[in-house]
Amino acid sequence: MTAMVTARIPAAATARALAGRADARPARWRRQLGAKLALLPLMAVVIVVYLGCMLWTVRLSFSSSKLLPVQDWAGLQQYGRLFANDRFLLSAINIGIFGVLFIGGCLVFGFLLAVFIDQRVRAEGVLRTVFLFPHAMSLVVTGLAWQWFLNPTLGLQKLVRDLGFADFTFDWIVNQQMVIYTLVIAGIWQASGLVMAILLAGLRGVDEDLWKAARVDGIPAWRAYLSIALPLIGPMVVTATVLLAVQVVKLYDLVVAMTRGGPGIASEVPAKFVMDHLFERNNIGLATAAATMMLVTVVAILAPWIYARYVRETGRRA
């Protein structure tokens, strides 16, 4: 990669030389030479790493690989086992619930934080850092802090009961029906600061004249944010959503740190299924089958959107 990056400098010189020519209408491919050269590293990475590794993963899901990858043929055996596995099916449901609440929660909360912090408040830098800090810390230990806080015998429930409210109950983390929501809470805590930062960067780019116009027209502030600013920062919202969606699909560390998938298997998630089988359970075949299913699901959800937005319109988004 380093070599590729430095290789861009001569490319830049060529492009500049080409651009500087008197010829006003060079051939289309030539005009694009700079862009094409610049995209070479991307192409190499996509083909070698992403496409290559994805195909490798799919291939292994049809093998009987255990600790080490082997290239034999086991047919659909791993998939048969996968779909007969209660834990994997429950994981799929859990990630659905988590995904909707987490993405929705982070976007709403993150947007609100960005808007409120945009009100020329004092100590903005401190507040922004406070909202972002969970992102900076290893989940192994912050997850433990959450586990303690939510634990009925250590944290909030105990605290409130010690204050004299003997009937107060907050035991979601040990309750199989509710445990997934504790992951949502900690997830929002961890990620909404980032959404705030992305949307704030967007808001700070909105033209000052628009705000002035809104004020002159007597539009209330909340409406100005919702109907003027929000549509303008649409691409930033998309970016934030994709970022959050990636975190949802890869959700693992938080679960391990807070619940270990429990109580029982109540808070298991697909990425943890993959990781457990990939490493601890020495079953690469089953792990890659699960990873393939995750990939297929993601592609099925993303494909129409990617197609509409990026492939069909060959150039800039309208």
């Binding site: 610049a38 020329r120 850092t129 802090a145 780019g205 691409p235």
Partner: protein, 298 residues
């Protein structure tokens, strides 16, 4: 369309009066801050207690017997295997990994995003689609083939190897970030530069890069966090001499059968996070001024 700002000011509306609305704003922000700080409270108080007090299990209480020893031990004395030098050992390794990875991954993302959003290169968007889909696979699945790939290339277990890995795995999000940011800029800006005879790189370095400050700040926040906190890539690809700080942190907080000193765990975690935290705090100035400084009259 989004136009660059012309004033050296935040875009928010000016407060008209100090009244209920103002109180509401602060009430919301302060209660949110309390929510964010709650686990940190537990971590800080725990880190200032001797273990005898931690075992008692009053996690929210202030330390009865205040001690800073866990902090000293976490930084320079805690055992992480044969060595007992705390987490300070890997600090410079982490810095050495962070800086090239950060610069290269942001540069790659900016160039990709620019090429994808302003130049109609056939097939480029399909590549981008695959890249984006790839971002969703747990990267642990990629470890084996990558190890073999790098080992055949002869750079397995080196600083170059870990930097490449960070650039490669940062690429989907970095590209997306810049692509979507550039997509929201007025296309007239680009067309005008084209008519003036600007080539691919001239337009990028002279027109777009100067306007990219806010998104570079966001990209920096993302990448500093991701690269600094990375454990599994560093462990797998960096090699013994370049192991990042997080390996020491993991050795302190993640022992399976060993006794746990939670106070040291908490202190070590906070100490490790100081670099990204400093970046968050310092990046604040560019959240406001960067845009104005880079403003181009469109």
């Amino acid at each position: 369309m989004m136009a660059p700002m012309t004033a050296d000011m935040p875009s928010g509306r000016r407060p008209r009066r100090i009244g209920i609305a103002r109180i509401g704003v602060y009430a919301f922000l302060l209660s949110s801050a309390a929510f964010f700080l709650l686990p940190l409270w537990i971590m800080v108080t725990t880190s200032l207690k001797p273990m005898a007090e931690v075992w008692e299990g009053n996690i929210l209480a202030l330390p009865a017997q205040f001690t800073v020893e866990p902090w000293i031990r976490a930084w320079s004395e805690a055992c992480t295997g044969l060595e007992c030098n705390g987490i300070s050992v890997g600090f410079w390794n982490s810095v050495r990994i962070l800086i090239p990875s950060l610069v290269l991954s942001i540069l790659a993302g900016a160039v990709n995003g620019y090429a994808l959003s302003f130049w109609r290169v056939r097939g480029a968007n399909l590549l981008f689609g695959i890249l984006l889909a790839g971002a969703f696979i747990p990267y642990q699945v990629f470890l084996y083939p990558l190890v073999r790939l790098f080992s055949q290339a002869g750079i397995y277990n080196s600083l170059a190897c870990i930097v490449i890995v960070h650039v490669v795995f940062g690429m989907p999000i970095m590209t997306l970030l810049f692509r979507n940011f550039y997509a929201s800029l007025p296309v007239e800006l680009f067309n005008a530069a084209r008519i003036d005879g600007g080539g691919f790189w001239t337009i990028f370095t002279h027109v777009l890069l100067p306007m990219s400050t806010p998104i570079i700040v966001v990209a920096t926040i993302l990448q500093v966090t991701g690269i600094w906190n990375d454990f599994i890539f560093g462990l797998t690809f960096a090699g013994r001499e370049n192991l990042p700080m997080t390996v020491q942190l993991n050795n302190i907080v993640n022992s399976t059968q060993g006794e746990r000193a939670y106070n040291i765990d908490m202190a070590a975690t906070i100490l490790t996070a100081l670099v990204p935290l400093a970046v968050y705090f310092l990046s604040g100035r560019w959240f406001v001024r960067g845009i104005a400084a880079g403003a181009v009259k469109g």
